[in-house]
């Protein structure tokens, strides 16, 4: 498969001298959902923000569909950003705007200031927004303020906003950080389903290793700004978790997959598809 997103030797050093990322390289092909795990401060958020340049990397390259994001000027950067949908920790919805306005804000990169100022979005954008609200099950809430929704509903609006952009890539930063376990699973399932439907690649940073193993196709483990693991979720064993997070009792998390070295990848995929369908 052709790599849609290519990140090569990406480094970021903050003004404070903190080395957040150090020579990170990986490729993501179309349709692949990559889970990004690592302890707090390991550079997960920085990595995600370097890809759409909300944080400017110190060195290295990021290219999306052969476009080098690092070299873009302001206007071109905005046009590149609108192709990258982003979903945030704590939702980052504009609380005082309505659900519909939040979803339509995904089109800001495509419409002129005055059109967006008077909320006169092209009919196509409005149709798409209604379709997305149908998809995430929030059609009834379109004219409510975002602040009136529950956590899970807000994150659904966040997902709709990202998709309203017609993205070629989803950047997802801790989508489940403030959700209860059930809602967290529903949100992860929704994100992964949508990526399958649209053959969208996604990078999802997650705190919850169990959740990562349940839903993603591939896991990248970061520690102190360096990739220490990159592979299938089934490869994440006690030794690897210790490598990423440090010494701890990991036996509960990896469900003893170490004990079944013969487990084949197809089975793994099958199990995951079942979870995706909501059977377990």
């Amino acid at each position: 498969m052709r790599a849609m997103l290519r990140v090569s030797s990406l480094s970021k050093r903050y003004k404070t001298g903190d080395e957040a990322l150090n020579g990170v390289s990986f490729d993501v092909p179309a349709g692949q959902v990559v889970g990004l795990i690592g302890p707090s401060g390991s550079g997960k958020s920085t990595l995600i923000r370097c890809i759409n340049r909300l944080v400017k990397p110190t060195s290295g390259h990021v290219s999306l569909n052969e476009t080098d994001i690092m070299r873009l000027g302001r206007g071109a950067l905005r046009r590149a950003r609108r192709r990258m949908g982003m979903i945030f920790q704590e939702y980052a919805l504009v609380e005082r705007l309505t659900v519909m306005e939040n979803v339509l804000s995904g089109r800001l990169g495509y419409v002129s200031f005055w059109r967006s100022f008077f909320r006169r979005f092209p009919q196509g954008d409005v149709d798409k927004a209604f379709m997305l609200l149908d998809r995430v099950g929030l059609t009834e809430q379109a004219d409510k303020r975002a602040s009136a929704l529950s956590g899970g509903q807000r994150q659904r609006v966040g997902i709709a906003r990202a998709l309203e952009q017609d993205p070629q890539l989803l950047l997802v930063d801790e989508p489940t950080a403030s959700l209860d376990p059930k809602t967290a699973r529903q949100i992860m399932r929704l994100i992964c389903e949508i990526c399958r439907e649209r053959n969208l690649p996604a990078i999802v940073s997650l705190h919850d290793v169990v959740l990562a193993k349940m839903f993603v196709d591939r896991i990248i483990g970061l520690r102190a700004g360096v990739i220490v693991f990159d592979g299938a979720p089934s490869g994440l064993n006690t030794a690897m978790l210790t490598e990423i997070y440090g010494e701890e009792d990991w036996t509960q998390i990896h469900d003893g997959t170490d004990d079944e070295p013969t487990q084949d990848a197809a089975l793994d995929t099958h199990a995951r598809e079942e979870r995706m369908a909501g059977l377990t």
Binding site: V94, E95, L97, S105, G109
Partner: protein, 268 residues
């Protein structure tokens, strides 16, 4: 640790100033200064007694407010004051929006920030009376000088508070809008404006009643409005008319307060 080993461990909140000499020195020094300062006040008690009786006459006049004798002057003054207040608040608030945006460090580039902060500093450095004296000297007596004074003072007040409000916004919401590929103006319109709007409206209404009260003060230095009428009444020892004016000011301020608190609640 067994129970027998447990000692009683006293705990006291650590003092703000660690050094006891410095701490007690400051307390005692402060007290001595206060006593000394009060001792230097030279109170002329006979003058105070005289003032009390004059105050009584004052009070007598005020107990019988006279709205009618000089009603023409009062109405003209009120009309001038209200016009001045409303126009200055609108103009001042509108001008304070771009200046407030420019004075918010998180969205403005450094040179713009410096210029806008300088405008705010100048506006805030001068009290309304001083501004009124300057504008009266420049544009002559009358409400136009008052309008300029209040507009300029409003800019300093509103732009500073607006800028501080913008600096305190929830950055994640603005970042999310920026991540969609929005332009700077779109980020302001979608990511920032909704967050600061309730406070902006609340502050504008608050400024409206500040401006009304100020309009009564700056009239005294010749900037027109009800203040000028009040000043004339006092100089003529028309305490009954002055009383009528003060009552009207109080009523209008209370009414403005009542209306604005309702409007604020509605905006929220």
């Amino acid at each position: 640790m067994s129970a027998a080993d447990a000692q009683i461990r006293a705990w006291k909140r650590p003092p703000l100033i660690g050094n006891p000499w410095l701490r007690w020195g400051l307390y005692i020094g402060g007290l001595v200064y206060l006593v000394a300062a009060i001792a230097t006040l030279d109170v002329n008690w006979t003058r105070v007694v005289e003032g009390l009786s004059q105050g009584l006459r004052f009070l007598e006049g005020f107990l019988v407010p006279d709205f009618t004798t000089r009603s023409r002057d009062i109405w003209r003054g009120m009309e001038e004051s209200l016009t001045m207040t409303v126009t200055a608040t609108i103009v001042g608030c509108l001008l304070s929006i771009p200046i407030g945006l420019g004075a918010a460090r998180n969205i403005a580039p450094l040179p713009v920030y410096a210029v806008c902060r300088a405008v705010i500093a100048v506006s805030r450095a001068f009290q309304e009376i001083i501004l009124a004296i300057l504008f009266v000297a420049m544009f002559g007596f009358g409400p136009f000088a008052g309008f300029l004074t209040l507009s300029f003072a409003t800019i300093g007040f509103m732009a500073k508070l607006l800028a501080e409000d913008i600096e305190d916004i929830n950055e994640a919401q603005a970042e999310a809008i920026r991540a969609t590929g929005a332009t700077w103006w779109q980020v302001v319109n979608y990511g920032i404006q909704p967050q600061v709007m309730p406070r902006l409206v609340g502050l504008s209404l608050y400024r409206l009643d500040i401006n009304f009260r100020e309009s009564a003060v700056i009239g005294i230095v010749g900037a027109g409005g009800i203040g000028a009428t009040l000043n004339t009444a006092m100089q003529r020892y028309d305490y009954d008319t002055a009383s009528a004016i003060l009552i009207m000011i109080i009523v209008i301020v209370l009414a403005a307060e009542y209306v604005s608190s309702h409007l604020r609640k509605w905006v929220q």
